[in-house]
Amino acid sequence: MTFRRLLPVFVASLLLACRQGMQGAQTLPSTRGLPEQSGVAGAFRVPEYYDKENASKLKSLLTGTAAAPQSDGTLRLATVQLVTFDLSGQTNLVFTGTNCVLDARNRIVYSSDRLEMRTGDERLYVSGVGFLFRQTNSHVIISNQVHTIIKGAPGPLSTLP
């Protein structure tokens, strides 16, 4: 799966966590309605599975700590990690960030902290400080200190996020 396809999955997963988090539970239920337990206060774990015949296969796993609903209706996550998987179980993308704010109403996710994204095959790594994901148009903006590493490129800039 390409970065282009992964981005909406990523945003949708985070916003799903936001929606579920704002329902009151700091330990969020899974996307299949089964509550996930965590030993860490405020920690959450949100697995998402593929549909139909692949319903037993994990599509993404969102984990994090200290999910705190805010007065403006957003949800702040102290740490967050999202891992997406393909149908064979291989890791597609790993995203890590801190102090993420999830705004389900406006369908955006943002943070002023550092974020890192890497593909499962380690061919692509993107990091930066401060980001905004907008689900409405599948837009991602990294505001500062952007660093991209592309490995295994046969020619100049043959692959990008």
Binding site: G128, V146, L157, L160
Partner: protein
Amino acid sequence: MHRLLLLFLFLVPGSLLGAEETHAPAGQIEIFADQFEFDSTNHTAVYTGHVRVLDPQMKLVCDRLTAGLTEVGGTNARTTINQIVAQGAVQVDMTTDQGSASAYGDKAVYEASTDTVELTGKPRLVTRQGTLTGDRVIVDRRRNRLEARGNVRMVMPAEALKQPGFSLNKDKPALPKP
């Protein structure tokens, strides 16, 4: 003739002169910028602000870098770049076993399908052999060729004539006919 084709010793990588911190390790490309914007609707990735691209063979600096993306492959599709546009104070420094070269211009367009880079906006190529300017400077990486079009001017230092490839005929010049 507006078109001048120069076999100008364009320095496409052979062996490198050793790893410098201004170049990425072999098989790796690094991009640094102030800001990154990815638009999956228009399939573009845009780096802005102090953009630096480190390739094993070159370093590119510009104000703005736009990459047009496309997907190739079927089930295991991967995103690849079909075009890169560098804009604003573009500078490309290349280092090879034959020396170094620097290209300057307002804009550089890389076409992946042809593996060519076209420099416009007062393009200028500086090598040990001299300085080449024109309306357009096209680097054909696949064929190791450089092409300049429109108002082409080549300035070469006298020392360049003494270098290999520019040897002079040491025979006595033919006498002028009466």
